[in-house]
Symmetry: C2
Subunit: 247 residues, 2 copies
């Protein structure tokens, strides 16, 4: 959540994008998170044969406000045409390039439970720069099993294989227990970006990005909102209707 932010700043305290040799404009973290969403909306539009789209249309497809969309895109440069809109094709490739999806990223998944399998099989990655290249597990019953195109490898061979395949991005879908050790070993093997599904905080050196997906927390947040709505709706849906809580 907050963790990955630490790596936006290098040891000297300067924002990464300001370092000499990396000239790209600085893209705010919140914007980066939405670029992926725009990319998906653009892909859907392209499939429907749409070749030009206005900020209003694209924003509505992405579930955001059009002012925010234009502001987000302005960080990448000016790729729209006033009075007309954005060219779907060219905007797609500008966003993809900004996200670094023109490079091919090999990803390792550690932990081949249901969650790991879901990620390994996720078609959403394929085409777009991200490819699951290795699966690891500690359970001897899983090792050697075929999952999609890949064979599950022993976590004992993690360092060797990760280094061999020059994997920089890893997904941790182990239980909380082994997660920190797995993380340390991934980092030692050259991984610099981690997506963590294990319900624990990972300690990493400053050059490593960690993003955390916390499934229990997501449901607890919904629980909070239910609680806030709760009283009223549960006791009397019609009262809630009267208060305009229901459409």
């Amino acid at each position: 959540m907050t963790q990955h932010r630490s790596a936006d700043i290098d040891r000297a305290g300067k924002p990464v994008a300001m370092r000499p040799g990396i000239p790209e404009k600085n893209v705010p973290e919140a914007t980066v998170g939405r670029l992926a969403v725009y990319l998906r909306a653009l892909a859907a539009l392209r499939e429907h044969g749409v070749s030009t789209v206005s900020s209003e249309e694209l924003a509505s497809a992405a579930g955001v406000n059009s002012a925010m969309l234009r502001k987000d895109l302005s960080h990448l440069g000016s790729y729209g045409t006033r009075g007309v809109g954005y060219d779907v094709e060219s905007l797609t490739s500008h966003i993809a390039r900004t996200l670094g999806l023109t490079d091919e990223h090999a990803v390792a998944v550690v932990g081949v439970g249901n969650l790991g399998r879901a990620l390994a099989g996720y078609a959403g990655f394929g085409a777009r720069g991200i490819r699951v290249a290795a699966l690891f597990d500690a359970d001897p019953r899983q090792i050697g099993e075929q999952v999609g195109d890949l064979v599950v490898q022993s976590v004992d061979d993690l360092e060797f294989i990760v280094a061999q395949l020059t994997i920089n991005i890893a997904v941790i879908t182990t239980p909380a227990g082994p997660a920190q050790e797995v993380c340390d070993r991934l980092v030692a093997a050259g991984v610099t970006s981690i997506l963590n599904f294990a319900p624990c905080i990972l300690n990493v050196p400053a050059h490593v990005d960690v993003r955390k997906v916390d499934l229990a927390a997501e449901l607890q947040i919904l629980s909070f909102h239910e609680h806030r709505k709760g009283g009223l709706m549960a006791l009397s849906p019609s009262a809630a209707l009267g208060l305009g809580m229901v459409q």
Copy 2:
């Protein structure tokens, strides 16, 4: 992402917490997201027999700054003791109550692929107010299958069962295609909070909260950060070392 915010405000434009009859102080959205993390850190401390914890210790266990932790907790009231710290037990229950985890929430999971199964089997929920109470799928091969304690039900029976079990929270782990229809039916059956894993934007009435977990987007965000680090590290790890990028 932004979607769930819309439901914080009712039709009259007043923040929910301000409505008469719901006196709790307003807790910022960002704080709510972290309360779940604190709760987990507290559980770990309690297991280690710790009965009192300072904001500094708890913050470090939760991976945040101690000022932020104290600020977050101040929204719940004053449950610490100056010069001493927080009582693990009592802080745990205050946070749990704030999150609405004292009520029992029955959750439906729609889509029993790997992701749905991962959630259905997630032990992290059990004890704490959240219980997966129904599983649905459209695939006849899945219907009737036993998953954990539950039998997979036909999505055709969704309305009846959701209403029957007074389920208010649902998780959508279907492909993007059927997600909106599933969502509409859940809402019609009384669901008011949705956790969406399908890679699409859901349109819901204002009284419904949607949180979105976008796995492809998470990896694309990491791809962006890799890209930013990329050039340097790939060409010359030793140069990167010299720039202080590596510990």
